[in-house]
């Protein structure tokens, strides 16, 4: 399946901004799930400097500066991505018990294992609370296969938590999400990751997009798609297995991956430092279309 994604981020400031310096993680990944065929940035006002580098996690980072006075910043990214179909059934044929995975990660010394190990620790947005462990253990019964238990955890989050964009913000702590059982995709991903890490498993955060289909008989609205987030768990020998707790599905051909890291902080799509600006209004529009 091939998609064209148009992602526009627009800031309107009350006061002029004299200088802004930014980091964008808006270039889709190329990995075992997908191939990026093209990606182009249009930035207004035009940046005086535009550079690219790969970050610690292998994401492509775009670094740009705008030293010219401006009151509106618009970053528009258009990418084309070929998403590979993966046979779903294969994923659930693994019957390795989760404790075995936990112990293997704890002992492992290979470069791959070290990389996985980093995803077993607390991170900026994911504190390893006792309540997370409690919640996780209801799915992670002794000797249960890792993937089976993870799917169970995902399903419980999907059914027990309510999707509520009005309830949480970027800075809502996990404890609040768990107490009120409300949140958005980002919270659910953080929650699941926290659960897995609290019992010694390696879990990472994936940011990206999901194709949404309009209700039957209606036209799809432009800009109505959104950024999305889900998580992946590490299974030695097989790699990172993805799960989408917001939709209770194993990501397949409708998920497009932008970046991955320990949590949202590592993969923030657009961040920056600016001088001036005062209060600002942010609008984001995302379109995911099949081509």
């Amino acid at each position: 399946m091939k998609f064209r994604i148009k992602h526009i981020t627009r800031y309107e400031y009350a006061e002029p901004v004299s200088l802004c310096q930014n980091l964008a993680r808006l270039t889709p990944l190329t990995n075992e799930h997908q191939t990026r065929q093209s990606c182009s940035f249009t930035i207004s006002p035009a940046p005086s400097y535009l550079g690219e580098h790969k970050d610690y996690y292998g994401n492509l980072v775009t670094r740009f500066d705008i030293p010219e006075q401006h009151k509106v910043l618009e970053v528009s990214v258009t990418s084309e991505v070929l998403v590979l179909e993966k046979p779903q059934s294969l994923l659930f044929s693994f019957d390795v018990a989760w404790e075995q995975v936990r112990d293997e990660i704890a002992r492992g010394l290979t470069a791959d294992m070290l990389f996985a190990k980093e995803f077993t620790y607390a991170s900026k947005f994911i504190e390893l609370l006792p309540s997370l462990k409690e919640y996780a253990l209801l799915s992670f019964k002794p000797n249960r296969p890792l993937l089976d238990a993870t799917r169970h955890l995902m399903h419980r989050i999907f059914t027990e938590f309510q999707y509520d964009p009005a309830f949480t913000t970027l800075s809502t702590p996990l404890q609040t999400v768990i107490e009120h059982k409300r949140g958005v995709c980002q919270d659910f991903a953080h929650l699941a990751i926290g659960c897995l890490r609290s019992i010694g498993l390696a879990a990472r955060y994936v940011s990206g997009y999901i194709e949404t289909l309009p209700p039957e008989g209606q036209e799809k609205l432009e800009g109505a798609d959104a950024s999305h987030a889900w998580f992946a768990v590490y299974l030695p020998g097989s790699g990172w297995m993805e799960f989408d707790p917001t939709n209770d599905i194993v990501p397949g051909s409708q998920h497009i991956r932008l970046a991955m890291g320990r949590d949202y902080f590592d993969v923030t799509p657009l961040k920056g430092v600016l001088f001036g600006g005062g209060s600002n209004v942010l609008t984001v529009s995302v379109d995911v279309a099949r081509v």
């Binding site: 550079g51 470069a111 070290l114 190990k117 959104a226 430092v273 984001v284």
Partner: protein
Amino acid sequence: MTSKSRPEESLLSRHMEDYHADTKGYDEFWDAETNQPRAHWQNLVQQLEKLPESDFRARQQLIHRQLQEIGVTYSFGKEDKSRRAWELDAIPYVLDQHSWQQLNAGMQQRAKVLNAVFKDLYGRRELLTSGIIPAEVVLNSEQYIRPAHGLYNHIETPLMFYSADITRNPDGQLVVIRDKTQMPTGVGYCLENRVAMSRVMSSEFSSAEIARLSGFFKAWHGTFTAMVPHNRTPNIVMLSAGASDETYFEHAYLAAYLGYNLVLGADLTVREGKVWLKTLDGLEQVDVILRWVDDQACDSLELKEDAVCGVPGLLHAVRQGNVIVINPIGAGILESPGLMSYLPAVCEHLFDEPLLLPQIDTFWCGDKNRRHFVLDNLQNMVIKRADYHAKNQYPASMDDTKLEQLRHKITQQPAKYVGQQFLEFSRAPAWNNAKFQAKPIKIRSFALTEQGSYRVLPGALTRLVYYQQQENPFTGLLKDTWVLGENEENYSSLWQLVGEQAAYRGHEQITSRTAESLFWVGRNIERSESQVRLVRAILSRLTEYSPNREEDALAHIEKLITGLLPHHPQIADALEDMAEKGRSAYWWMMRQFVFGTDLNGGLTATFGFFLNSAFNVRDYWSGDTWRIIDEINQAARRIKYSKPTRSVSDMQELLNELLDSVSAFLGHAAESLSRDGGWLMLEAGRRLERAHQIINLSEILLSNAVDNEMESLVLDSLLYSQESLATHRRRYRVEQRMETVVELLLLNADYPRSLCYQLKRLKQLVAEMPNEQNDSRLERHEKMILSALTRIQLCELSDLVIANKKGERNNLQALLDDVSSDLNDLAEAISQIYFSHTEGAAQLLQGQVQS
């Protein structure tokens, strides 16, 4: 040394009893077996034996005064506990040749090992995959800066500086107790201590073979220069968090010594992946940054978001190879106690050799066996955070409940803790609270990379530790450290170096921030001076009774008081509220003004502004200039801390002292400051302020006409406060009249105290300021000063002195208002054009992912 007529007991003979009171730890000085000082102290002991105690105390005083003069003990505002000054002990710490060789080799090796660890952790991470260091010690530490991974593979010795805290264990063996790898904090104090000691203890110094420090600092500069491959002189800056940082003095001292520009984060900006310094002449590219801010604070774009003392985008400039940051960003991980516990194994693994200098026994609790050892021996341990240095915990001094809580914490999150064997530090003699005492010490040693290996400073910063629990950086008593032995280095004075270094710096770069501070130094020194002069004028008026015209005289005094603080609500209210206006009430007010510390705009506050703006650019001043600034500080402090009830003559005396030191500063600044952009700004600030002061007083005193008898008094006050009585008498040879005074103080183009003269000077200064436009169009600040000067030059004296029927001199008033408004615009324009507008950077709002 002066010989006394009456023999006096020496320091040592009188105080040895005190010394033997502390018997814990290894005694660096006294050998209990032979019952005499150890051999390497003998020379110093002989010197001290010859020294009467009074002489010794005098030297200690001299050291104190020197430190004060160079600004170590600087404090003016509220006594700030965090910046509490330290003292330097006249008794040095002496290190014998054998110990030095051990220290030297051990430091070199340890620096080499840590450099290799640094390269590995930010590169291949073979130490983790081989299991030599448990991955969690590094990967679960906030000190491991992931965005820095992969940045240092191509550099042989990225770890430019290494420092360590060292003591001796009870067996007398040197032991490393802590690694410092982000910045060589203390090396500046070390230098400064040596300079002070070599002055005060010069005879003791020359009688012993003491290793010199100058070679180390020469090598320092050589290493820095060699890092930048191109031919031009590299632009090296020192990045500091500024005057609020407790080690700011050290930054300023070292920057001045090495000839580097001392900058704050806001002085730098990243453009096109390069780092630039904001100077009066525009942006200049920076090659090397010696940073005195923590790893995480270096870059609010990629690292800690709320950090204000770094430079947004810095890490990317490093990534692009456009700037070198020293020590490299990420070096903080090497300081973690967790990592320290694996260092002996790392050294064996990488170099196949044991650590030459033993380290304090350190156990990371994330390892099961080590954890058990720590828990089993808790009473003999100091418990630390594994990843960074925080408050240590001392189980030996805990009650059972606390101990149980600690045990529980360690068991719950073992990887977060490290246990270190409690070590009794060695004792060295110190002159402490007028006693000769044995005190626990820590020695901080410094190493610097030079052509691929490390060079160790043949000296150290020795600190007296009052309680071992104490973690405060540099408070209390410091000691110079004397390394005995043959001196390999040729004689070269520490100060000789300064001249050489200064020559490295092509031309003086004045940062926009320095320019701004100097502008305010100029304004505040002038404001201080005119306030003092006006206060003196008021005091002299207060002492003259005029029985016939008492009411008018009092009205005049009230006007003068208003002149001290124009439009000041506190003064206005106080004057309003005075039930009985009379001399005693005005006396009270003047005392408030001079001695009161809570009056905004009062004398103490004005001097405080001056001193703070001067301290903000501490590195700009030469030693002599700073000494004079410190004299102003001392004079102002004497006023601040004297009783407000002092007599008029006492008050006059204090004010005169203050005025003398202000004059000394201005004279010295005019003589010695190079005529660069900084001087322009200081001078512009001064002239601008003086113009304002003349305008202000003229407005208050002259805009309403009074009868002849009163006018004479008013003009006399005005001339007196402007220090112009004598000039007026000489020039006009008549009793002061309105015409002559206005001519002299406002319109005369050649009299250095006139308004017209200030404007003329300002016009020259503005013309000398760097100008980007090359065409003949005037910039805003040039227009403003031209306008002000022209107004003065075009007006007619006769128009100005005329008053209307109500006695109002409207022409004069209008002229003063117009000039004043031009000058305000001028100040605003200078600020816009030349000063860096250091508004804080904000973070871009981030959207929530909302599906």
